[in-house]
């Protein structure tokens, strides 16, 4: 059962917002018509393939491509020699940073291969078979180097060094020697020593998490076509056509306007399609061959060479008074960055304790390179890792204090006015409301049987805004085309069209949304950071308001009255203030005569959306642990989240349900497994097992609405927060079912069974 709790902004009578229409792109997606990354074929098209390092760490002494080049049917071969080297500089890219020195090395290894699967060469040929044959003819001479996979080992002074020129940023004094530690970050508030001194109970624990993959079902895919005069078109599955354009243009030394990028339909991303892998290779191959080049990753390549999120080691210490008030909280986070710096340890630090109103907090994080694929953003990057650890300790503290876990969280919950350890004072946020709704939900009272346990966890994510454009074009028959610049990954065409219809006062089916390519609009930041309904929604509403102003101008002109005597209500211009007695003029009528009254009518918005509101959630899960096998079964699951305003509640619920199940996979099953040579042993869906339909129950949802005052409709982002609480909630449920506190993810059957057996052995002594 799914519920919506309405709070605030009750004054406006919504007509479209809050309803559940069929999405505008729905029919294409249930008939197989929708074109995803690998679904485009162009005349005269070549197939590109990548040669990848079999070694986790190796110096590339030489690459001989002559035999491959000589193979009939091979049209282009490229290596790092086809890319210019770029200086090290950090560019903010939403929730992560990018560094083009590293990016050019990640798409094509230069001096060294830094992980198994690292690209070392690529070919384009007349068929996949010829391309595969050509890869076998490329001779690479490697000097295999010692590798390091774990953060703790990578931080040792004698660890194999990935980058000889990397000195830790954020250390005083500046280190004299290079290391694998890219960065140290610290966030602090108050005095933790004094806070712990006031505590009656202090609990500290160490945790580990393993790298997990975003697991989108659609592998990376693109088609590039570069013409002889250097103009290029690129079709690809991406979360951001504009960032792909900018990254590729930088890597290839191209002018931005000469590269037109079209986002295909995207078969999942979860942050993993916010970077480039194949795209620059396909462009360089196409430029060399002067033919279109298509490239598609295999599932193995997706696992080995595209971004998982960090594995981590975490230490958390929290103290509280007997009456349940937290006095101090401290954490140390060490995140794997993969082969290049840039783990999400900073956001991990920032949101670690963000759900709580604390006087004394200190969080230190380390960004550590290891011989694994470079991590990419994954849904609330960094947050689920640190908050899993924190929520586990919070739960244990509540137990020690004999307090209900929701009651303990309510006593310490962040609310409007709370100063977060990472800086800002929160505006209206909905944690308290989610906790109260969770406690009131029927699931919270279901009696449990033997070997069953209930777990609670809350979660926080910032959400972001950023640069956004949207266009509304009024057609002659009064219908409206909407052009957005953010790929629709989960129903945003619906939510954007709904906001346009709401603002213009017209029926939803009069608005036809499309996703524009990079030449259709000004720059748009990507689909990520839970920003699309917030930012593109804000731009659409602004564009609609501009269109309404023009519609009023035309009506004023027709009626020969001043502009301020024309109001816009329910899709009609109305003369107000007694200026003239005329019947209201509908949008369609103004559209019909637009050519005569001043020309076509459009609305355009180009904004930097500010004021994204954090979204908080509370999840409650019941599990049963099989003492014979160690298997954890999720019996029932409740996700409660503050959406600000749920424009299309079904797709908000969908985000909550999908995030919960991704989190179930992270908690119970998923992990990268490597052999002693640093080669991945489970690069497929059979052995890297994501949750399937029979693994999970229905996911109950409650949407809480605490409107975001910085958005015209109160919207917050909702996409990322749902993956933050599950790991903590499940660990807490397993602890309640077994009496064992699990601090290492995943809680897979062998690990759980071992702990149960050890507990029995200890108690039977």
């Amino acid at each position: 059962m799914n519920d919506v709790t309405m709070k605030g902004l009750g004054e406006r009578m919504w007509k479209v917002v809050g309803t559940r229409p069929v999405r505008p792109d729905g029919v294409d997606k249930v008939t197989g018509r929708a074109k995803f990354g690998a679904d485009l074929n162009l005349p005269n098209m070549l197939i590109g393939k990548v040669l990848r390092s079999p070694h986790a760490h190796a110096r590339i002494k030489s690459i001989d491509t002559s035999k491959a080049q000589a193979l009939p049917g091979v049209k282009a071969v490229v290596t790092s020699a086809d890319f210019s080297d770029l200086p090290s500089e950090f560019i903010p890219a939403g929730e992560m940073m990018v560094n083009f020195r590293d990016m050019t090395r990640n798409v094509m290894a230069r001096e060294k291969a830094l992980y198994e699967g690292h690209a070392v060469a690529a070919v384009a040929a007349i068929s996949e078979a010829v391309a595969a044959q050509a890869l076998k003819l490329i001779e690479v001479e490697y000097e295999v180097l010692p590798h390091v996979m774990d953060v703790a080992q990578a931080m040792q002074p004698d660890a194999p060094l990935l980058h000889e020129s990397m000195y830790t940023i954020g250390m005083e004094p500046k280190p004299e020697k290079p290391s694998n530690v890219a960065k140290r970050v610290e966030f602090a508030l108050g005095d933790v020593a004094a806070g712990f001194a006031k505590a009656d109970v202090v609990i500290e624990r160490e945790f580990t998490t393993q790298p997990v993959h975003q697991g989108y079902i659609e592998p990376h895919a693109c088609v590039a076509s570069v013409s002889e005069d250097g103009q290029a078109e690129l079709w690809c599955s991406t979360q951001g056509q504009f960032i792909v354009r900018n990254f590729c243009a930088k890597l290839l030394g191209m002018e931005l306007s000469r590269l037109r990028v079209t986002a295909s339909e995207i078969g999942g991303g979860f942050g993993g399609k916010t970077v480039v892998y194949l795209e620059p290779l396909a462009l360089v191959l196409s430029r060399k061959a002067a033919q279109p080049v298509k490239m598609v990753m295999s599932r193995t390549e997706v696992f080995k060479a595209s971004g998982p999120t960090s594995g981590a080691r975490i230490w958390v210490k929290i103290g509280a008074t007997r009456d349940g008030r937290i006095t101090a909280a401290e954490a140390l986070l060490k995140y794997q960055a993969g082969a290049f710096q840039g783990s999400p340890v900073q956001p991990g630090c920032m949101c670690a304790f963000a759900p709580y109103d604390l006087e004394n907090v200190k969080v230190v994080g380390f960004d550590v390179v290891v011989n694994r694929p470079k991590v990419a953003a994954y849904r609330a990057p960094g947050g689920p890792i640190s908050e899993f650890a924190v929520e586990s300790v919070i739960d244990e503290l509540a137990g020690r204090l004999n307090l209900d876990p929701i009651e303990f969280r309510l006593k310490n919950a962040a609310k409007e006015g709370t100063k977060a350890a990472y800086g800002p004072k929160f505006g209206p946020i909905g944690l308290v409301q989610t906790l109260e709704a969770a406690r009131a939900h029927r699931n919270y009272g279901v009696p449990l049987k033997a070997n069953q346990g209930r777990g609670v966890a809350s979660g926080f994510w910032f959400n972001i805004g950023g640069e956004t454009c949207a266009a509304l074009n009024l057609t002659e028959d009064g219908s409206v085309t909407l052009v957005a610049g953010t790929p629709d990954i989960g129903g945003s065409r619906a939510s954007l069209a709904m906001m346009a219809a709401e603002e213009l006062g017209i029926a939803l089916d009069k608005v036809r949304p499309i996703i524009g390519d990079t030449s259709a609009l000004g720059y748009n930041f990507l689909t990520g950071g839970s920003r699309v309904t917030f930012s593109s929604g804000m731009a659409v509403i602004e564009a609609a308001r501009e269109m309404i102003r023009r519609l009023r101008e035309r009506a004023a002109k027709i009626w020969e009255i001043p502009l301020d005597s024309v109001a816009w209500e329910d899709g009609h211009a109305r003369a107000v203030g007694g200026a003239k007695q005329v019947a209201p003029m509908p949008l369609a009528e103004i559209a019909k005569t637009a050519g005569k009254t001043g020309g076509p009518i459009v609305g355009y918005a180009a904004i930097n959306a500010q004021g994204a509101g954090p979204s908080l959630a509370t999840h409650v899960v019941d599990v049963e642990v099989d003492p014979e096998t160690g298997k954890v079964t999720v019996l029932r699951y409740l996700a409660v989240q503050d959406a600000g305003r749920a424009v299309h509640p079904s797709y908000v619920e969908g985000q909550m349900q999908g995030g919960a199940v991704q989190g179930i996979g992270w908690a119970l099953n998923e992990e990268y497994i490597y052999d002693k040579n640093g080669r991945m042993e489970n690069p497929g869906f059979l052995d890297y097992r994501i949750p399937v339909c029979s693994d999970v129950p229905m996911i109950d949802t409650v949407i809480v609405e605490v409107p975001n005052p910085r958005h015209p409709y109160g919207v917050r982002g909702v996409g990322e927060t749902p993956i933050v609480p599950p790991m903590g909630a499940i660990a807490n449920a397993v602890a309640n079912a077994t009496g064992i506190r699990f601090t290492d993810l995943p809680m897979s059957p062998p690990r759980v069974l071992k702990a149960i057996d050890e507990k029995h052995a200890a108690t039977s002594k």
Partner: protein, 167 residues
């Protein structure tokens, strides 16, 4: 191995089959999968490749009434058989009840797994018109969805089954 062979034999096989009720012919190499043929030879790109190992179900088709992963079937095996893909699911401009219910229940987010789920669900309802939630979940366990958490998919299938039974 016949080392004396002087001429090159044809590397492609001619296959005659039925796809979505219509006669179809194609040429394919011996190692090409049915999925490769559907997508790259016949341009029926509604069937998706998510893994090429039979683990994700995005390429699900119905072969002589039986649900299969087309990435695990060779193109030549389609000879004389009857293949049903997502492209043949709607009846002209009328959506199949499963397609309609997937839309109404918002049972898709990104949509890449949707064709496979629809084909698999159609095969389920052909065998079992009145499945329980558990039966739906186990039947669809061969189809991976990373977006929805399966909740709305299961509801859509149960609702479509009820409608198709005339409830």
């Amino acid at each position: 191995m016949d080392g004396t062979r002087k001429f090159k034999v044809a590397t492609k096989h001619h296959v005659t089959t039925t796809i979505n009720g219509d006669p179809a012919e194609f040429l394919c190499t011996p190692e090409q999968t049915l999925l490769d043929v559907l997508r790259d030879v016949l341009y029926l790109t509604g069937s998706k490749e998510g893994c090429a190992s039979g683990d994700c179900g995005a390429c699900s088709v119905i072969l002589d009434g039986r649900l299969v992963c087309s990435c695990l079937v060779l193109g030549v095996e389609a000879e004389g058989r009857d293949v049903e893909t997502i492209e043949g699911m709607a009846n002209g401009d009328e959506l199949h009840p499963l397609q309609q219910k997937f839309l109404e229940h918002a049972a898709l987010q990104c949509g890449i797994c949707t064709p496979g789920f629809l084909v698999a669900a159609k095969a389920l309802l052909a065998r079992n018109p009145d499945p329980t939630e558990t039966e739906v979940r186990y039947w669809l366990a061969g189809n991976l969805c990373r977006c929805t958490g399966y909740d709305k998919i299961v509801r859509a299938v149960l609702d479509a089954a009820a409608e198709m039974r005339g409830n």
